[in-house]
Amino acid sequence: MKSQILTAGPAAMLLFGVFFSLLILRVPVAMALGLACLPILLIEPHLSIMTLAQETFNAYNSFILLSVPFFLLTANLMSCGGITDRLVSLSRTLVGHWPGSLAQINVVLSVFFAGISGSSTADAASQSKIFIDAQVKEGYDLSFSIAITAVSAVLAVIIPPSILMIVWGGLISTSIGALYLAGVIPGLLIAGAQMVTVHAYAVKRGYPTYPKASWVELRCALWQSIPALFTPFLIVGGILLGWFTATESACVAVLYSIALSAFVYKEIGKKELYTALLDTGRLSGVALFCVGTASVFGWILAYYRIPHELLANVSTWGMGPIAAGFFIAGVFLVVGCFLDAIPAIIIVGTVLEPLAKSVELHPVQFAIISIVSLAFGLVTPPYGMCLMVACSVAGVRLRYAIKDTMIMLVPMLLVLIALIIFPEVSLFLPRLIVPGFLK
């Protein structure tokens, strides 16, 4: 037994008390997480301030997290290298004649984007620049434009490749290949739900519709996009065939998008490359720094066995797999409001795993339920990364777009419910293609 001065209860109060007080004072989340650990590190004789440096180091010294800058870089390269432009024209010819054309294109582009980059933040950042202004100019409401851009950006972590799935697979040993396949159907269903929402909005508010594109235009746009559309098959296929690991696949995505931009579309120069690299460094720096301090926070929670104390009663409730699925989704939906998705997986995912196991929830289904719930957390206040990014590009406060965002989340929640009740929604594709990966 370790000799601890504090017991789990007071330690938890201290940790969360300091954390939330600092958040209210508007201390950045990453700093607040680090500072919340400080009193504990000083009180406990076995810990010291150096623990903070050591544990953040351990978090960053990880090959898995390398996929974060790679996927961000892929996204930045897509934007400056002409890949995004091709995919926009393809989306335009596919759904441009539906009511609310530009917003539909916004959603469809997110689907294509999700198939290439695994980062929702990157999706929100690049599509906010493309769509928010353009939609407002065409007469869409600003709050609607922000909301649909942010909400469609979450597809990037549900449709493969996905940073969250790589982190999940690395932390809670689950086959990343199986997770990728399992994310496809839920991702497309959520995209469908968003398109229905856009349709309803567009009809009600009279948003503009473009004329239908001709077959020639469609063929032409498709032909130009084929090299880009090939990316998800390269990445997912490469992992399933054992050509490369998940992190390496993110690097392959970078190399492929450099090759496309430089040799096929020929739109990238030295200056654009530098900007892409710098923007990637900026965003991954702040996002991953937070992962480090969150890891220390999670490490201290585990040190006091706080999560186990919290969940001690839950296992006696006698839940079945469906009830447990709803419970897990609920926990992640709440946690996702306050924490970024990767720290949430680190702190909560590992804690919920025994519960999922005990009710015989399939590990892959468990992962997808959690990841989809956390994806919703990317747009829920107060800490919804994608919504924050979209609002900051639009130059408004977070609360401005909350109402429309919440309305859009309702149909998406239906998909989450279906995901919990029907295991086949997530398990159908992996069972069909790689039954061996499901054990």
Binding site: L35, P69, S284, R399
Partner: protein
């Protein structure tokens, strides 16, 4: 306080330092691609031997990359924060910002202090695979702490001016 048309030597220094960090940041992201690519190539061809240190190199460069990104993030105030306050005029806004930055400053001091111990602790150790001196990686913590203090200094000054300045524009 009269507004200064010419930036002081100190401000020029911090601006140049920030520029240097930006270049290092972009470089480290770019270089990160190399060891991982080598790793993939080595698996499929015999052009290059299967280096065992590529993964470790990638991880160590990555650590620096994150820490430099976090340093730049403080200068640009781009670390994400939760926004619960109503819209405020310039002065109360400056007061809240000062309070928030005191938090970052506290962590900066912790990183400088704890990081110095952390670096000293690693002085005679080398990494497992590439046998790099570990202090070169651990040094990122005190450097980050110091850099934050430098960048926070001028931000405090700006906010204090806004708080007590004659024109509350």
């Amino acid at each position: 306080m009269p507004s200064m048309p010419q930036p002081t030597a100190w401000r020029r220094f911090t601006a140049a330092y920030a520029k240097l960090l930006e270049i290092l940041l972009a470089l480290s992201v770019g270089i990160l691609i190399i060891p991982v690519t080598l790793q993939i190539i080595a698996r499929f061809t015999n052009i290059i031997p299967h280096y065992i240190w590529t993964e470790e190199m990638a991880r160590f460069l990555f650590v620096w990359c994150i820490m430099i990104g976090a340093m730049v993030g403080v200068r640009e105030s781009s670390h994400f924060e939760v926004d619960v306050w109503p819209e405020m005029s310039r002065r109360p806004e400056a007061a809240v910002r000062i309070a928030a930055r005191l938090g970052t400053l506290a962590l900066a001091v912790v990183f400088l202090w704890g990081g110095a111990q952390f670096t000293k602790f690693a002085f005679n150790r080398t990494s497992e695979l590439a046998e790099l001196p570990l202090w070169m990686i651990h040094a990122a913590w005190p450097v980050a702490g110091l850099t934050w203090i430098v960048f926070l200094g001028e931000q405090f000054l700006d906010e204090l001016r806004a708080l007590f300045g004659r024109s509350a524009s």
